[in-house]
Symmetry: C2
Subunit: 368 residues, 2 copies
């Protein structure tokens, strides 16, 4: 057992990986370009076939009038909320306290758009119909993130989602989806993208989560939304002369991985089940509803790091690349299933996680 | 003479081109990646060697403390002005009426940052020291564009630039350079990038003007500016998980074309001189000070289009790809010299422009 290597080092050196699609390196772009003809023209400031065909494809796939490609979801979502705020003549929008806009964007929505978000539910649970009914009356737009990533990727029951949609339509409140991982949840809901998107007025999707592209996002909605979104995209500095490196790679990986989403979901359930058989570990959700889940480990972060690193070094199976402290004696990490999971020999995986359980149990006894 | 083909068609089909580096297509990216190893890691949200080494290289080249890579100049410059405004506790900034922020950004500076630009000089001429001395006292930042693109790429005398810099330093006004074409003007000034940048507190440069990259920009200045700029970049939605397609191509084309800037400048002077020998045509500047100039043609736009198209079809030399109307009997276009100019046989070029002059003279007589 080599205890001198860190968690990240043992993860990087292991022969097999349980999560992801492989390293984020230039090969991802080279693969996407391998069959693209050099004479393919660049998009030009949001125009031209290279961008408009992909926008049309996504609008059709999601059943909306129009789609606008963005370099990032941060830009697309702030702009969507701003447009709904302007249309509703109210600066009030509503979302979850762990929404991307609230915790990962340096407060761009407030600083650039001067919107006033109301936080629904709390950091431990999903937004419910009850929360929605208690929103301020002047709420212009409600943002729902499907799945709610920061709590492990949980989802409301579909019936509740439908009820929230009906309520918002009755009240004239725009319903926007943070669908960064929309394709990843369709197998669980057993719905098409178009069916889920029909409940929403606008939807943002990402091309580098389960899809595994390089960067890029799409905002879909009605034609007026798209027109306004393009103006705001210019204002944000996102209307680049050429976005084709992201457009071409997004389309390549979307075509490659959309058919695999059901498999990722099944594999996530399988892996979560293995972890839930271990001492000191539980997954959230207990049964995943997409390709992702969180591991919660009830030992101090440093203990967990040493223990997992030793298992990774001894078994050659990469389980965890980083840990976040959640308390003095607890820590967490995120697992997202991609192409690499299926390459892990099942028997080796089972043994590695069993070994992890045994070593965590020993560590627990020493610590507590 | 084939009169049925348009200006754009004859430009596209001509054997030789007098401007640019070639078509903006995927080959531009493929060329930049040809010697990049697939295992090169992506930048990650502004961190990692792929981005930090390039930022360090540009900071050193321009003689500033730090540099921050941006997807676009629109984003970089709004942010620079916002930071200077915050530091100066004043919403007033000053720039030329044909500044990129004023005419190409859908008013992002006002809409997102609520800054209040004061327009100096007028649409016909450069900003002078006198204009600067008459700015409002509470001006936080003055933006100077070198060269002033929308008036053909004109430049102030270097002594006047130095005097403006001294004045701004005395008054505590930040001086920001729109240096989208900074490298293109160094041969005329006979200065290094570092020498010119030393007159300014912050500088933005672009990688897809004379450099001919795909997209991307750099903002350089002091360490505090960089730190603030990164926060605003996140807020704008420009802090992408991966910017490497732009970073790698920007570096590739910068290395390729920086040594050629003096040649582009000499070639621009040569081509402008040929045009200035034609009836109905003059260039602005009369003698270029960079790789660019504007053609002003004193015939109606449609007449000029037909005439130039016929010359392009008959000579196989592409001169003009588009025209903008400037009045009932006048129009203009922009010429930027790149790699393609040197491939044009000089004698054929001289004859083509002579033929253009003859045909414009005939057209003039018919029109007037």
């Amino acid at each position: 057992m080599n205890q001198s290597l860190s968690l990240a080092e043992t993860f990087a050196q292991a022969q097999y990986r349980t999560s992801g699609n492989g390293p984020r390196n230039v090969q991802v772009l080279l693969d996407a370009l391998q069959n693209v003809d050099g004479s393919t023209p660049s998009d030009m400031y949001g125009r031209g076939e290279t961008i408009s065909k992909f926008e049309r494809k996504l609008a059709d796939m999601l059943g909306k009038e129009t789609a606008v490609f963005f370099p990032s979801g941060t830009m697309a979502q702030q702009i969507a909320l701003r447009i709904w705020s302007d249309r509703g003549s109210s600066k009030t929008v509503a979302y979850h306290p762990l929404c991307h806009l609230e915790i990962h964007e340096q407060d761009g929505l407030r600083e650039l758009h001067h919107l006033e978000p109301v936080l629904l539910a709390n950091k431990e649970r999903l937004i419910t119909l009850e929360d929605v009914k208690n929103m301020p009356e002047n709420t212009a737009c409600l943002l729902l993130e499907l799945p709610q990533r920061e709590i492990g990727g949980e989802l409301p029951d579909y019936a509740e989602l439908e009820a929230i949609s009906v309520y918002c339509r009755e009240k004239g409140i725009a319903l926007h989806m943070d669908g960064a991982r929309l394709f990843e949840i369709l197998p669980y809901y057993g719905k098409t993208a178009e069916e889920v998107c029909a409940l929403f007025d606008s939807v943002y999707i990402s091309f580098y989560k389960g899809v595994g592209g390089i960067a890029g996002a799409m905002l879909v909605g009605d034609a007026d939304l798209a027109e306004q979104a393009k103006i705001w995209k210019r204002r944000h500095g996102g209307d680049l002369i050429s976005l084709y490196p992201y457009i071409l790679s997004s389309e390549y990986y979307l075509d490659l991985r959309l058919p695999k989403m059901a498999q990722y979901y099944e594999e996530a359930k399988e892996l979560a089940d293995l972890y839930n058989g271990c001492s000191c570990i539980r997954t959230r959700p207990e049964v995943p509803v997409s390709n992702m889940f969180h591991l919660h480990i009830d030992v101090p972060k440093e203990t967990a790091e040493t223990t997992i690193a030793s298992v990774q070094a001894d078994t050659g199976i990469a389980l965890v690349s980083y840990l976040q402290e959640t308390g003095e004696t607890s820590c967490t990490t995120e697992i997202s299933i991609g192409d690499l999971y299926r390459e892990v020999p099942k028997e080796k995986l089972r043994k590695a996680i069993m070994l992890l359980g045994e070593r965590l149990e020993v560590a627990c006894k020493i610590v507590f």
